[in-house]
C-alpha cells in the first residue's frame, strides 16, 4: 500500500513481548520469564488506574492486594457505577461443567473464528485459559450467579456458540460481577492501599524521559486541575461507542483518556471495528439520548421475524404464520436465531431496507416469544427474562408477553482501541491498557458474553502478572511537580479549557455530538463504502472547524460544569471519528464488525481478503500535514486456519 491523500504508511509494529512455542504453555512461560518486584519494594511504587469498570476495578483491587500503592480515578460519583454494570447476558468460561464438549481450546477456537481472524492467537488462548479462574474468583467473592436445584452453577448458550459455557446472574451479570470487583476495591480503599478519586477526569498523560509517569486530572466538583505522578499508568477507560452519539454506552462513556494518550504517541489500533448489537430497542424520536440494549440471550428463546410483504401495517397478532418471514432461521438453518451479532444486525438492516421493517419509521424487526411461552410456560420465561421484559415495557409501553418485542441494531461495543503488546503495554513504556480500551482479544468482532471475560481476565490475572516485569526494570528517577513535562501537560489542559470557555458561539456541545453521530452512523455504521467514507471525512473535518469556532460552553472552569466536560470529550470524538473513517477506508475488505459493500460474496456475506489485510492496523496520530501514519502488525495463524465463516 502506498501513501495517499488520507494516510501514510510507516514501519510495521512488532509485539516484542509475545512468546512463541506451543500455545498451551505460552502464558505460563511468559509469567515465569517476567521479572518480579520484591514485596518490600512494591509499597514504594505507585500505579495510577484510570477507570473502575470490570478491568480497572479488578486491576486496582488486585494490584493493591499485591502491595502496590494504587491511585484510582473515575468520572462517576462512585466506582460502582462504571458502565460494565449494564452488561446483561453473561460471561463465558471454558469450565465444561455441562460436559458438552467444551474446552479451553474450543473457547479459543470460537473466539478467533468469531473475531473473523483478526485477533492474535496468543492473546485469545490466554483469555480462554484465564476464563475458568474468573468464575472461581467471582464465586469466592459472593457473586450470586444463577444456580440449579442441586446448588451448582447454571449455564446457558449464547450467540455464536454451540456449547453452554455462559455463566449468568439473571439479566444483570455485569452488575453482579462489577459489584464483586467494586467490593474488592472498596476493601482495599478501606485498608488504605488504594486512594480513590471519584468525579475526577483524566485529561492528559504525563510522559517523562519517554515513560508514562502520570496524568493530569480535573476534579469535576471544584474544577481544580492537578498533576498526579506515578511509576506506571493503567488506562481502563472503556470503549468509544459514543462517537455515534446514540449507542448503548452510558452517557458519560468517552474516548478522552485513550485519545489524549494517542495524541502523545500511543498507537490506536483497528478503530473501525465497531460492534453493532442486533437486539436494541428502536429509537422513538428526535429527543432520543441513548439506546437501550436487550440482552442477546433473548435470541435463545425469541424468534426473529418480519412480515413477508412490504409495508405490512397489520398488528403482529393479525399476521398469519405463512405470511411471516423468520429470516434468520430461513437463511441460516443451522444457527438460526443464534448467528453472531454482525450477521444478525446486517440481516435486520437488509429486511428493513427492503421495506419490511416494523414500528415507527419501519426501523425494527420482531423478536417473538409466543413459541417459547407456549413451550416453556409463562413462569419459566419470566424466570429467565423477567427483568428484560419489564425494562422493555417500561420504555415502550408494550407488553412482550402479549405482543412481540420490536428490536433494531445499535452500536454497542468497540473492538478497536489502544494498541498493546502481549503484556498489555502500549507503545508508550509504562502505560498499560486493559479491557475494552485496548484492541487485543476480539479481532474484528466480539462474541457475546466475552466482554466481561476479557475485562476481568485483564484486570484480575493478566496485568497483575505483566506489569511487574516493567516495574522491576526500575527504580525510575523521581519526577517532580515542577518538571518541564509535568508543567507543560498541565498547561495544555488549562489552555484547552480556557479556549472552550472563550469561544462563546451559538451551538451547543450536544448539537455537534449529534451531528457527528449522524455522520458516523450513516457512513461508518453497519455498511461502509469508499464513496461514503470519503464524504464522511470531509464532513467531519468541516464539523471540527465549526466546532472550534461556534461551540458555546456556559459557566466557568472552577465549578461543576457538565458542558465543559462534554466539550472536551466531543472534541476528541470528532478527531477519532475522522480516524475511524480513514481506517475503514483503508481496509478494503469486509471482516467482523467492518462491512465494506464493495467486498461481499454474491449472496451478500462479508468477504475477507486475507492476502492483503491479515494485520492489525495501528495508527499514529495525525501528523502536521493532517495524515495519520499506519503501522501494520502482521497476524499469524498457526492453530486456527482462516476460513470463511459459515453459519448456514
Amino acid at each position: 500500500m502506498t501513501d495517499n491523500e488520507f494516510w501514510t504508511e510507516g514501519e510495521p509494529v512488532v509485539d516484542k513481548a509475545a512468546p512463541d512455542g506451543p500455545i498451551e504453555t505460552r502464558w505460563e512461560r511468559r509469567k515465569f520469564a517476567a521479572k518480579l518486584v520484591n514485596p518490600a519494594n512494591r509499597r514504594k511504587l505507585t500505579i495510577i488506574v484510570v477507570g473502575t469498570g470490570l478491568a480497572g476495578g479488578s486491576a486496582a483491587a488486585t494490584l493493591a492486594e499485591q502491595g502496590y500503592h494504587v491511585k484510582s480515578y473515575c468520572y462517576q460519583d462512585s466506582p460502582r457505577r462504571a458502565h460494565s454494570i449494564a452488561a446483561q447476558g453473561g460471561i463465558n468460561a471454558a469450565k465444561n461443567y455441562r460436559n458438552d464438549g467444551d474446552s479451553v481450546y474450543r473457547l479459543f477456537y470460537d473466539t478467533v473464528k468469531g473475531g473473523d481472524f483478526r485477533a492474535r492467537e496468543s492473546n485469545v488462548y490466554r483469555l480462554a485459559q484465564e476464563s475458568v479462574n474468573i468464575i472461581d474468583q467471582a464465586v469466592a467473592q459472593g457473586v450470586p450467579f444463577a444456580r440449579e436445584y442441586g446448588g451448582l452453577l447454571d449455564n446457558r448458550s449464547f450467540g455464536g456458540t454451540q456449547v453452554s459455557r455462559t455463566f449468568y446472574a439473571r439479566g444483570q451479570t455485569g452488575q453482579q460481577l462489577l459489584i464483586g470487583a467494586y467490593q474488592a476495591l472498596e476493601r482495599q480503599i478501606g485498608l488504605g492501599n488504594v486512594e480513590m478519586n471519584a468525579r475526577h477526569e483524566m485529561l492528559e498523560l504525563i510522559i517523562v524521559d519517554g515513560k508514562a509517569r502520570g496524568i493530569v486530572v480535573r476534579d469535576m466538583v471544584t474544577g481544580q486541575i492537578t498533576t498526579e505522578l506515578a511509576d506506571a499508568v493503567v488506562l481502563a477507560s472503556g470503549g468509544y461507542g459514543n462517537v455515534f452519539f446514540l449507542s448503548t454506552n452510558a452517557k458519560g462513556c468517552n474516548v478522552t483518556a485513550s485519545w489524549r494518550a494517542h495524541r502523545k504517541g500511543a498507537l490506536f489500533a483497528n478503530p473501525c471495528y465497531t460492534q453493532i448489537h442486533p437486539t436494541c430497542i428502536p429509537e422513538s424520536g428526535s429527543h432520543q439520548s441513548k439506546l437501550t440494549l436487550m440482552s442477546e440471550s433473548l435470541r435463545n428463546d425469541g424468534r426473529v421475524w418480519v412480515p413477508k410483504a412490504q409495508k405490512d401495517t397489520r398488528r403482529p397478532a393479525d399476521i398469519p404464520e405463512d405470511e411471516r418471514d423468520y429470516y434468520l432461521e430461513r437463511i441460516y438453518p443451522s444457527f438460526g436465531n443464534l448467528v453472531p451479532r454482525d450477521i444478525a444486525s446486517r440481516a435486520a438492516k437488509n429486511v428493513c431496507d427492503e421495506g419490511r421493517g416494523v414500528g415507527p419509521g419501519g426501523l425494527g424487526v420482531y423478536l417473538d416469544f409466543a413459541d417459547a411461552i407456549s413451550r416453556l410456560g409463562h413462569k419459566a420465561v419470566e424466570a429467565k427474562y423477567g427483568n428484560l421484559f419489564e425494562m422493555y415495557q417500561r420504555i415502550t409501553g408494550e407488553d412482550p408477553y402479549e405482543t412481540p418485542m420490536r428490536i433494531y441494531p445499535a452500536v454497542h461495543y468497540t473492538m478497536g482501541g489502544l494498541w498493546v503488546d502481549y503484556d498489555l503495554q502500549s507503545t508508550i513504556p509504562g502505560m498499560f491498557v486493559v479491557g475494552e480500551a485496548n484492541f487485543s482479544d476480539h479481532g474484528a468482532n466480539r462474541l457475546g458474553a466475552s466482554a466481561l471475560m476479557q475485562g476481568l481476565a485483564d484486570g484480575y490475572f493478566v496485568l497483575p502478572n505483566t506489569i511487574n516485569n516493567y516495574l522491576a526494570s526500575g527504580p525510575f528517577p523521581k519526577v517532580s511537580q515542577t518538571d518541564e513535562a509535568v508543567v507543560a501537560a498541565r498547561k495544555q489542559v488549562e489552555d484547552q479549557i480556557e479556549k472552550f470557555l472563550s469561544i462563546d458561539g451559538d451551538r451547543t456541545v450536544d448539537s455537534f455530538h449529534r451531528e457527528l453521530g449522524h455522520i458516523m452512523w450513516e457512513y461508518c455504521g453497519m455498511e461502509r463504502t469508499e464513496e461514503g467514507l470519503t464524504k464522511a471525512i470531509g464532513l467531519i473535518r468541516a464539523l471540527k472547524e465549526e466546532f472550534w469556532t461556534r461551540v458555546k460552553v456556559p459557566g466557568k472552569g472552577e465549578e461543576l460544569n457538565q458542558n465543559l466536560e462534554k466539550a472536551g470529550r466531543v472534541a476528541d470524538f470528532i478527531e477519532l471519528g475522522e480516524l475511524m473513517c480513514i481506517d475503514a477506508l483503508h481496509r478494503r475488505e469486509s471482516c467482523g464488525g467492518h462491512f465494506r459493500a464493495e467486498s461481499q460474496t454474491p449472496d451478500g456475506e462479508a468477504l475477507r481478503h486475507d492476502d492483503e489485510f491479515s494485520y492489525a492496523a495501528a495508527w499514529e496520530y495525525f501528523a502536521a500535514d493532517g495524515r495519520p501514519t499506519l503501522h501494520k502488525e502482521m497476524l499469524e495463524f498457526e492453530y486456527v486456519h482462516p476460513s470463511t465463516r459459515s453459519y448456514k
Binding site: 460519583d77 469466592a140 439520548s289
Partner: protein, 247 residues
C-alpha cells in the same frame, strides 16, 4: 405535550437554593424524564442561562446515578422505576412538575440536583465485601449453594446504590441499603466467616457517616426502584443482635 417544571437551583454548597420554574413545550410522551431535562438544558444554554446540573449515566436503570425527587417522590410516580426509566407518557399536558435533589444530612448538595453520595461507599468499605484476594479461590463448584439461598442473595444484590431509600426516609436512614448488602453476603456460604463483624462494622460506618436511625417507617421500600423489601431490615436487625451477643 406542554408542561412546566419547577426545579431546585443551587449554585453550590454555600448557596441557599430555590425553586425556579421553566416552561417545556412540545415534548414527546415517548421521551424519558431526563430527555425532557436535556431538551430544557439545550434551550437554557442558547438563552445564556446556566443549564441544570444532574447526575445520570447509563440511562437504563442499572448504574444508580440518576437521583431526582419528582413531585415529592424519590424517582417519581412510577413504582420500581428509576428517574431515567420514567417516561413523559406518565404525565399530562399542562402538568406542573416539581424536581428536587435527594435531601439527607449524609448526602450534601453539590450543585442543583447533584448530591454527594460517597457515604454509601464508606459503608461498603467498612465490611460490605467477602475477603477473597485474587488467586485464592477454590473451584467454583467446590461450594454448592442451595438455589433458594442463591436466588434470595441475588434479589438483595440487585440494589443499585442510588440512595432513593435515604432520600425517602424521614430520618435520612440508610438501613435498607445496608440491609441489602448484609443479606446478599450473609446468605452465601462464602460470606459466613465475616458475617458478624460485617453487620457490626457496617452499622457503625452508617452512623459515623451521618445517616439517621431506622424507625420502621417503610418509605424506603416504597420508592426502591429494585423492589428491595422492608423485611431485609428485620433480617439485618436479627443478624446484628446475634453478632452483638457473640462479641
Amino acid at each position: 405535550m406542554d408542561i412546566q417544571v419547577r426545579v431546585w437551583r443551587q449554585s453550590g454548597p454555600a448557596d441557599r437554593g430555590r425553586m425556579v420554574g421553566y416552561d417545556v413545550k412540545d415534548i414527546s410522551p415517548d421521551a424519558s424524564f431526563l430527555e425532557m431535562i436535556d431538551v430544557l438544558n439545550e434551550k437554557l444554554i442558547l438563552d445564556g442561562d446556566d443549564p441544570i446540573a444532574f447526575d445520570h449515566d447509563c440511562r437504563e436503570g442499572i448504574c444508580g446515578a440518576c437521583s431526582m425527587v419528582i413531585n415529592g417522590v424519590a424517582h417519581g410516580p412510577e413504582k420500581a422505576t428509576t428517574t431515567c426509566q420514567l417516561h413523559m407518557r406518565h404525565f399530562k399536558d399542562g402538568d406542573v412538575i416539581d424536581v428536587e435533589p435527594w435531601r439527607a444530612a449524609a448526602f450534601p448538595v453539590i450543585k442543583d440536583l447533584v448530591v454527594d453520595r460517597s457515604a454509601f461507599d464508606q459503608i461498603i468499605q467498612a465490611g460490605g465485601y467477602i475477603s477473597a484476594p485474587t488467586g485464592t479461590a477454590p473451584d467454583a463448584h467446590a461450594t454448592p449453594v442451595p438455589k433458594k439461598d442463591a436466588d434470595a442473595a441475588f434479589e438483595a444484590a440487585t440494589c443499585i446504590g442510588c440512595g432513593a431509600c435515604v432520600a425517602a426516609c424521614p430520618n435520612g436512614s440508610s438501613m435498607l441499603f445496608t440491609a441489602a448488602k448484609v443479606t446478599h453476603l450473609g446468605l452465601m456460604p462464602q460470606g459466613q466467616p465475616e458475617r458478624d463483624s460485617r453487620v457490626i462494622d457496617m452499622l457503625q460506618a452508617q452512623d459515623d457517616a451521618g445517616f439517621g436511625g431506622c424507625t420502621n417507617m417503610g418509605e424506603c421500600a416504597e420508592v426502591c426502584p429494585k423492589g428491595i423489601p422492608l423485611s431485609l431490615i428485620g433480617r439485618l436487625n436479627s443478624d446484628y443482635r446475634k453478632a452483638i451477643a457473640k462479641s
